[in-house]
Symmetry: C2
Subunit: 260 residues, 2 copies
Amino acid sequence: MRFARYKNGISSTFGIVSGELLEDIHGTPFGAYEKTGMTHHLDAVELLVPFKPRTFYAAGINYTEHIKEIAAQQGRDPNFPEKPDIGYRANNALIAHGQPIVKPKDATDHLQYEGELVVVIGKQAKNVSFDEALECVLGYTIGNDVSERTWQASDRTFWRAKNSDTFKPMGPWIETQVDLDLMRTTVRLNGAMVSEFSTNSMIFGIETYISTMTKYLTLYPGDMIWMGTDGATQNMKIGDVCEIEIEGIGVLRNPIVEEE
Amino acid sequence: MRFARYKNGISSTFGIVSGELLEDIHGTPFGAYEKTGMTHHLDAVELLVPFKPRTFYAAGINYTEHIKEIAAQQGRDPNFPEKPDIGYRANNALIAHGQPIVKPKDATDHLQYEGELVVVIGKQAKNVSFDEALECVLGYTIGNDVSERTWQASDRTFWRAKNSDTFKPMGPWIETQVDLDLMRTTVRLNGAMVSEFSTNSMIFGIETYISTMTKYLTLYPGDMIWMGTDGATQNMKIGDVCEIEIEGIGVLRNPIVEEE
């Protein structure tokens, strides 16, 4: 099932996506809900960030080729993670499918995409085993972990490099039924494919992250984990359109614009 | 004015602290509110984390003596920050005044306190100047940035070292009127003073952080910034009680207990 959140007058509401239609619901995908009977064409609504995240977790480095790529860009040897240390991103940076990524005035040309699978937590979880880990997952969406590489190399934390306003496009919706092992992530810049990888070929998989994290922390409904990216990353310039597609979920599309 | 949040039956509500009394309000300190006429003795209520934070920012290293102390503990030279790079902590770890800090089963003896001033954002802010920076601040509370030093040295991010469940005591309330330059932070372990410093003697002050951060990101009501700690830190063992006092705000007191 696909849950989207959309603008409904001055407020927002959730709906279930069925083909080209959006069936409005009363309630949220994280609890009880019922269809209201109201239906929209998807083209006729403005999609929002698919949910308001509670804690924004991010694996960061979690695919082999990406680690080599960034190390080469920074002129150093690659550091492969020895254990699944989870990191953080910030909600201020989130934008929805279709909204513009604003390139800050003083950003360099090295503003790059990172196509990522986003895991949406649906149930409270502490001390879950590897085998039980996916039971707390409600579904999946797509994230673009936009990164300014010069700042990424110079900032002690990644606050500006990865969390400037609009640097975290996410959407278009939450998909609850996926086949992780069959999925591929494709990134297109102005329609041309620039990166493509097996979505689930992570160094540490979703079950490993969730079981390790919940040994020390409680996951709550509305938390999310961005799982990292693989492959080549290229610069995005003003006027470009970046698309991330993950088979079985959909396409996240955002233009890059200049800061006013 | 002092705003506290407390348990009111099965829900929570805000109140205004006046001496030993808590005057219940309808609304929140972040918007319109009015007194309901209901009053409690402070001793008769259970205080909660004083608000539900939106984004949890943390300066991390922001006082000279603390940076030297941690470097010495880790057997390396101190690294002083060259610019105000803001970091993140996670909401899962928050607990209220009075609630127990649970030492994880596999934590080492190096579980330490860090007494910190917490800045509570009250107004949306982007591109604010140094001089205007404090206008978006609603008030201040106290945080204990509990840290497991062995994990802090080994984890790529500080997720486990600083964000294990219960590692972020915060409270007891939000104080809106303070004199930053006169305030001193005192830490007591089982009643004995173990650390004491001038609260505002930061490497990068609140105005510098807010004006720098908002060049790239929007601060929202309910965001908060933990400003870092100074001075010596010592181990806390099971059975200890840790108190952080900041003059003009109050005392944050939490016992340390064993994981069951």
